[in-house]
Amino acid sequence: MAVTRETAETVKDIEQYKYGFVTDIESDKAPKGLSEDIIRFISAKKNEPEWMLEYRLKAYRYWLTLADEEPTWAKLQFPKIDYQAAYYYAAPKREKLASLDEVDPKLLETYKKLGIPLLEQQMLAGVAVDAVFDSVSVATTYKKKLEEMGVIFSPISEAVHKHPELVKKYLGSVVPYSDNFYATLNAAVFTDGSFVYIPKGLRCPMELSTYFRINEKNTGQFERTLIIADEGSYVSYLEGCTAPQRDENQLHAAVVELIALDNAEIKYSTVQNWYPGDAEGKGGIYNFVTKRGACRGANSKIMWTQVETGSSITWKYPSCILQGDNSVGEFYSVAITNNRQQADTGTKMIHLGKGTRSKIISKGISAGRADNTYRGLVRIGAKADKARNYTQCDSLLIGDKCGAHTVPYIESRNPTATTEHEATTSKISDDQLFYCMQRGMKQEEAVSLIVNGFCKEVLQTLPMEFAVEAQKLVGISLEGSVG
């Protein structure tokens, strides 16, 4: 794969520093592999306080004990990952391109279809942009407004310095460093990510990250996000981008933690479109993500919406721990796999408080030779009186070489609780395609229309402007899947 080769070439020189490296914190680069020294280096580069370093080391030491315990229960197949062959700090970047003329025309065409503004296209495609442009100043203006309202929205590396009490209190409180293989790795080596704190009673008046999307720093492969909604507050947070993104790093292991206190609500929307690899599945991103939200307070609510179209492998289960009485967890998911993509994704709803409710709507679309698995757990604890869950899993198959699987686990320890599960599997029929085409639609347009109809319920939960892009994306990611 080209990207790997480029990476290899760019970093050849770093290898040579390997042995004399330990004391050299001035360097911008760290050699391959993982060790306590590397972690100390990362922490030192970020000028972190001792407690943060200790946290990382604790995670690392724990990770070593897991060495051969990568989860294998998911329905995914991929070659064993050599963690010592990866870079954990300052992975070398490709050279910036001089202009859009140098960008793969196919990629540009996709951007155009998605209606991405020119400037954003340049940033996404890795074109050097050094002019000061409008949207950045727009972003700055909004950032100032947010600050005035008491919202903290910053890189997590900055929050470690400016708001250590909040970070100390909440980091790892939903996804402990010992949670799972990938989360542990993330805790040891995370590079950066977002930190959000919404003060009591505030309804955050804008979608966080909409305005900041193109302004975001490259947070790398081990992203760490922490969002805290204090009592009675509300926030809607958007992650990702509909435009296909390339990355030099094949392995991604992000961690996202959400905390909703009494009467607070967090809406977290993701569009994931990492490079899926070529038609044979070569070179795509491996995405192992741990996302979890804790509804700590009474009447709190966390809502996950995800549109997963990219990556060669997706391993992801955004979950809710419903601790507060009458708290609500919702999960809306569209997962599209085409060609050789594999996705094993779903959610966990852990009902602990009384009167807690959860809703799961999952739409899996599989085409080509792809495999798509919904894996979900609904657990109802002994104290969760009258807890309720509704789960609906629909699968849509395009062609006859792909697979769809539904693996729901339900565990209830409270007789007053109710759970409902519905599942359907359907196919796009030749008759449907012919019917649409007889009305003048191109085949791809027909597929897009039908698939968008199939996942409408989920797309509707996305913030408006994101929803429009996501609709187009659904069509684009299935191009070439029929005929």
Partner: protein, 251 residues
């Protein structure tokens, strides 16, 4: 030039020859009716014209404006102006009638080099067309054909036709399943589209429809060929006497 010309068309389904040399010419402005016994190949003929997969044309051609369309994809034929009102309309779950209509209309507009229709204009247009067909406007918010009654499905087909304004409209038993009032309303819808540059091919089993949509020509399709052609009176004669004469003659 003739609008649509079907020339010595032979077509097979699953290895069995169904059309055995159909000849039929539609001049601009004309309405042709085709009648014939069950299983004789009327729907086969419509499907072959529209380009459905699974039909093998072994001989002959179908010409639109003098150009053979048999090598074209179904969507290309549609954008060239061929419309088929299906005998059995297909359900499209999750896709609202409105979204479907809009996508189809925009596909046509793009092909004509026009911009996509604006939301308000679209709403107005749909409102007008549904009203004319006696359909409740709310119907367009429902998934296309899903849970529609037989008659509602047929109306939805005609709605699509009046929105897309094709050049050649083939109506495959659009009258079956319609109640008496609906038959009249739908026929009015068809008649309102009659125009000097448009032609209709109306497949029906019932003479009654032709009281409303008065054809210029009536044909009998039997044994894979046009066995007889005439004016409107042919339909009356068929109603009285049945198809025995044509089946025997051919046998």
């Amino acid at each position: 030039m003739s609008l649509l010309e079907i020339k010595n068309l032979h077509a097979s389904v699953a290895g069995k020859e169904i059309l055995k040399g159909v000849n039929l010419t539609l001049e601009p402005g004309e309405v042709h009716a085709i009648m014939g016994p069950n299983g004789t190949g009327k729907s086969t003929l419509s499907n072959v014209i529209a380009g459905r997969e699974g039909y093998e044309v072994t001989k002959g051609g179908v010409l639109l404006d003098g150009k053979d369309i048999l090598a074209m994809e179904p969507d290309e034929r549609a954008r060239a102006g061929i419309f088929l009102a299906f005998q059995y309309p297909v359900e499209i779950p999750g896709v609202t009638t409105s979204a479907f209509l809009k996508t189809a209309l925009n596909a046509k507009r793009r092909a004509e080099g026009k911009s996509e229709i604006d939301a308000m204009e679209f709403m107005k247009l749909v409102k007008k067309k549904t009203e004319a067909l006696g359909m409740p406007y709310d119907m367009i918010k429902r998934a296309l054909n899903v849970g529609f009654s037989g008659g509602e499905k047929k109306r939805a087909e005609v709605l699509q036709m009046t929105m897309l304004e094709p050049r050649v409209a083939i109506l495959d038993e659009t009258d079956s399943g319609l109640d008496i009032d609906a038959l009249r309303v739908v026929s009015e819808g068809v008649n309102s589209l009659r125009a000097p540059d448009r032609a209709f091919l109306v497949i029906t089993h019932y003479q009654r429809l032709l009281d409303y949509i008065v054809p210029d020509h009536v044909h009998v399709l039997a044994n894979g060929r046009i066995a007889a052609s005439g004016g409107k009176e042919l339909a009356l004669e068929l109603e009285a006497e049945g198809y025995a004469k044509y089946l025997n003659a051919a046998a």
